[in-house]
Amino acid sequence: MQVTGAQAVMMTLDALGIDTVFGYPGGAILPAYDPLIDAGFQHILVRHEQGAIHMAEGYAQATGRVGVCIVTSGPAATNLVTGLADAMMDSVPVLAITGQVALSAIGSDAFQEADVTGITMPITKHNELVNSVERIPEALKEAYHIAKSGRPGPVLVDLPKDLLQQSFEWAWDETVDLPGYKPTVRGHSKMVREALGLIAQAKQPVVYAGGGLVRADAGEELCRFARLLNVPVVTTLMARGVFPDTDPLSAGMPGMHGHYTGIRALQEADLLITLGARFDDRVTGRPDGFAPNAQVIHVDVDPAEIGKNRAVDVPIVGDVKVVLSQFLALLDDKDAKGELDAFIPDTAAWRTHLDNYKEVHPLRFDQQHDGPLKPQHAIEEVYRTFGDDAVYVAGVGQHQMWAAQHIPYTRGRQWINSGGLGTMGFAVPAAIGVKAGVGPDVSVIAIDGDGCFQMTFQEIATAVQHNLPVVFCVINNGYLGMVRQWQRLFYDNRLSQVALPQGLPDLMKIADAYGIPGFRATTSDEAALVLDKAKTITDRPVLIEFMVDPDELVFPMVPSGGTNDEVIESAEEWFERTAALAAAGQEQA
């Protein structure tokens, strides 16, 4: 059968089982938008290409399937850059298809020409400028395979316009042959046995659970593993929920703004069972002071992560879900022989110690009934309203940290955010992508800041047009809160370019302009009231604005450049400490 390159794109996407594509048409990709009318997938028309790729990311993170976006050449393709970098950092499987000027025009500075494979080489797992029409199905199939296998990531396929218009004899073959790409799936069995030996002898072991567990859908295996061995678990920002916060073994989140218990559990551990995590600087603090007494087992599908930031005692390269199954199979085998007890470490004292931390060092904030609305309270109210069944999507900044801290997550893919790149503006489009992925029965709640929201809120039009009823919650403190927090703590409270006055713009008018219900809450009573109202609206997007106390800071906090031995739990403690340090400095002088 003779088909055009453009038809081949659609047929390939259909053959790969793609059900949703986020995109925006334009010059070079125009030939593809004609057969797209008859394609088997739904196309969601965004308002900005950055929106398309964040939606693809949200879709992918919520469903585990590859998120697909399609845009034209030049400025459209460069608008994908932020999202590609974001997907690269957070290992999100995304297939980005870009139009390109005709092969014959490449290099001539043609209209809307940009060297997109060159620009995106460092921020994609792989990319390709397709150079013949016959190669189109193969290139897309390979890109899809690379995006979702091994350590997932974004792959970009650049399609010159003339190839989309040429015809060729359609041929489809499911197999992929990439001689240079063979991710390791199974862990080395000797290393797996060695790891279990190390765990058996540990007194203070911790599972350091990272986002790789979410990508691998390894939550069930993780729960069995931790409960069988009685090992406490910390879940990083990227892993929130993959081990339930409600489980007694959960020590919460580690890192710069983690829970006290989570931070200290890693720091005091004698063994880190690292699963799909990467010793990110926001988790470790100063690396030479991180978990000084711990041996390290490190399981990761990407061999380059092992030994990158921290020396490792037992390295295991493999898919974390498969490796956990190997652990469990070995333990089941021991159990059948009546030898399981020898493999279960005695963690009773350690768990008691951590339980004590949880009791003595909870998250602290004080919502006075008639006082200003606290952002933490607003977020807890959002959770109280929409509950455990909802998916929560955050932007980047203070609201993100509070949403990570204050909501008890119970499963992977329930919490979606931009962790590695820290992309402001992520929440609105990502939440729309999540909604497109999870369908009408699951509530999707975007928890955004006022700074983030103003970067991408134009996508509300997309949500309305395509009937994707997301609940957009804006935690409005009238500032770039996290930047302000750093200026307050590290720059002597000299505020520089952080004020975004509340009311500019009037978000209720924004809601009105998009034809969606808007609610504003300035007190805790109002917060409860508007949330109850918003909950009844399920057929349209909703915008809720919480006018919160701008003076609230995110704590706990491990000071930048410090170690996890210095966990500051409140602003009062911070300023006492700073004053004491200053006094000590003066005495010395």
């Binding site: 080489m121 797992k125 400028l129 240079g180 061999p303 380059a304």
Partner: protein, 176 residues
């Protein structure tokens, strides 16, 4: 930092942009390339890069792992410098006068190099060898006046009958 010279042989798919992928990876991860040479192999679908890097042990491991993540990279081995033949090529345009021409040619012969072009007041010397030998030759030629030089990156093969493709499963599709 204690950095050592390491020689990596890298087999890559012979595709557009593959050299850029390798070079870009080195640049963005702040690795130090001393030299890079690329050329065809006995299999037209495969190119061979010889990369000389300065790195301490942990960084070298990262370099190899990061290279391996590039989809078009097929195989990497670090060559043991003791058991490896390494060569660079150098062309030097030397100023000559009727008085110095024969002296220059004497130097060239001592180093087992070749004169490949002669003009009235200059000649071009071609030499292949270890970096040390080429340095020594250049030092001998400098007093006569060196107009320009060009030098290739290192290329290297391990000694003996072993080959980089031994035991590897390079299953390439028949039509690329």
């Amino acid at each position: 930092m204690n950095t050592h010279r390491h020689v990596l042989s890298v087999l890559v798919e012979n595709r557009p942009g593959v050299l850029t992928r390798v070079a870009s990876m080195f640049a963005r991860r702040n690795y130090n390339i001393h030299s890079l040479a690329v050329g065809p192999t006995e299999d037209e679908r495969v190119s061979r890069l010889t990369v000389v890097v300065g790195a301490e042990a942990v960084q070298l491991e990262q370099i190899i792992k990061q290279l391996n993540k590039l989809v078009h990279v097929l195989k990497i081995i670090e060559l043991d410098t003791e058991a490896t033949v390494q060569r660079e090529m150098q062309l030097v345009k030397v100023t000559t006068t009727p008085q110095t021409r024969s002296q220059v040619i004497d130097v060239v012969e001592v180093f087992r190099a070749n004169v490949i072009d002669v003009d009235h007041d200059s000649l071009i010397v071609e030499a292949a060898g270890s970096p040390e030998k080429l340095e020594a030759l250049l030092n001998m030629l400098l007093p006569y006046g060196v107009r320009e030089i060009v030098r290739s990156g290192t290329i290297a093969l391990s000694r003996g009958n072993r080959s980089i493709t031994d035991g590897s499963k390079l299953r390439m599709r028949s039509v690329v």
